[in-house]
Amino acid sequence: MKIKSILKACACLLFWSSLGLNTTGQSQNAGLKLPPGFSAKTILDSSGKTRHLVVLPGGLIYVKMARPWKGNGIMILKEDNAGKASIAGGFGDYGGTGIYVKNGYLYASSNEAVFRYKLNEKNEVLTPDQPERIITGLKMGRQHETKSIVLDNDNNIYVNIGSPSNSCQLQDRQPGSLGVPGCPLLDSAGGIWQFRVDKADQSYSQGIRYATGLRNVVGLDWNQQNNTLFVTQHGRDQLNDLFPAFYTAQQNAELPAECLYMIKKGDDAGFPFAYYDQLQKKYMQAPEYGGDGKKEAGKKYLEPVVAFPGHMAPNGLLFYTGTQFPEKYRNGAFVAFHGSWNRTPQKQEGYYVVFVPFANGKPSGNWEVFADGFSGQAEVMTPRQAKHRPCGLAQGPDGALYVTDDVKGTIYKIEYKK
């Protein structure tokens, strides 16, 4: 009994001190583990649920909030020369995820619409209360409701419209429930839509379904090297929960892949009829649509560029075009993984930022973890334990990498010095 309680006290002490090291924020590199030569700090310690962000010349940063925070759906930060940011106001009464800047306009999305704001030469928003609403009436389910956005170089904007259900079952997430024949929701969701940047109040009839079969995309970016859209998809959940006869708990944890796709007009990534199995490197038929864990789906769907392990939730994608980071990082992709919940009873995965080296618009090597330690835990058994979860990525004018966290609203800045 005595030994037991001593042991218990020791374990608790050790446990708490190991936590303390990672969570103080004062600790080295803001608690992050980085490759040699890189350093990190927090420019803002806490705010609301910060999602995607843009960092502009002159020290202005605009951050999209999942829900309005202190009344504002977009938070304005001003970063000083010492690298600390102060909150310099906000605007927009809508929550959401997407935000992007191009050619003198700031674009931001609610979960149903996209707005744009003219910027002046100092990158300030001139009329925060009078945005142009360029897109409206987009489908918003309870799940996968966020609209991520990016622009190309030809005055088009790309918007993710996520599937309102896990796998288009007749009864969402009910064990054994089969798929709705043909999955008609793909007409208005489960893909990427293209619109013009400068027309008011466009909706489905003015837009183009640019790509389909994408369950929910949160990270997306335009690759300037090959002038093409890239997206990261959140793969489906609960293979074993819903179809225990076909999948083990182990397969449930690992499958399907979280895919990075290069998207051309008309592409189909298979959802909900098929999913990509990164272990067999094949598309498999979904169990809701005649699959049994073994049936392959053939070659008709878009091959992923990178297939990451399951459920890690890629929420941010950024092609690095700066020169501050070493040669290896130029034009490569950073992906922020929000972290899994659908791997129980195993430990969760993700909660880090990875790097994929690219050359000429194609991966030129294996992906690797770039920044780890956001969760402040040695292992995350359940997402609630994570102190921070990486979400949005942005490149600063000087080539630094910014990462948002939507648990505490912490903003990280990662830099490289020779």
Binding site: Q143, R173, T344, P345, A378, E379
Partner: protein
């Protein structure tokens, strides 16, 4: 680090187990205790199979997605409402103690009355919850009377 964490978990679960095993003995007559404990044990298996991926092993849920089952007014409260949630699912985006959760909870119509009673007893008596058990007889009459 990993070892320490696991050790921490083991200790937490050990103390948790000790508590939940001890409490009823002090309060209730012996026959009832074993019935409740048996129901909790059976309910745990139902929970692991049908509920755990969303509400998580510790009942803590997934922030923004699936609500925690720890100490919420709903879980500790009206039993009829709980029976109805498990049978019919919950997809109404209801506010649960000040937060919203965006996932859909499916209906679990395949569970027997006994399994519904067991899983509800398990969640009401685990994760630090100390509400009264749900008996099979409290599940069945709800159906006899129809929806309420």
């Amino acid at each position: 680090m990993r070892k320490v964490f696991t050790l921490g978990l083991v200790i937490i679960s050990l103390t948790g187990f000790a508590q939940s095993a001890k409490k009823p003995v002090a309060k209730k007559p012996v026959t009832h205790v074993s019935a409740a404990t048996l129901s909790i044990n059976r309910g745990k298996l139902v929970y692991q199979k049908f509920c755990m991926s969303c509400h998580q092993a510790d009942g803590g849920g997934v922030p923004n997605l699936n609500p925690p089952l720890i100490g919420t007014t709903g879980v500790l409260g009206n039993k009829n409402r709980l029976v109805k949630i498990v049978r019919n699912g919950l997809q109404e985006h209801v506010e649960i103690d000040g937060e919203f959760y965006s996932n859909n909870m499916p209906p679990f119509k395949m569970l027997t009355d006994q399994q519904v009673a067991d899983v509800l007893t398990y969640i009401r008596r685990s994760f630090g919850n100390k509400a009264t058990p749900v008996l099979k007889s409290e599940v069945s009459p709800y159906y006899a009377k129809g929806k309420k």
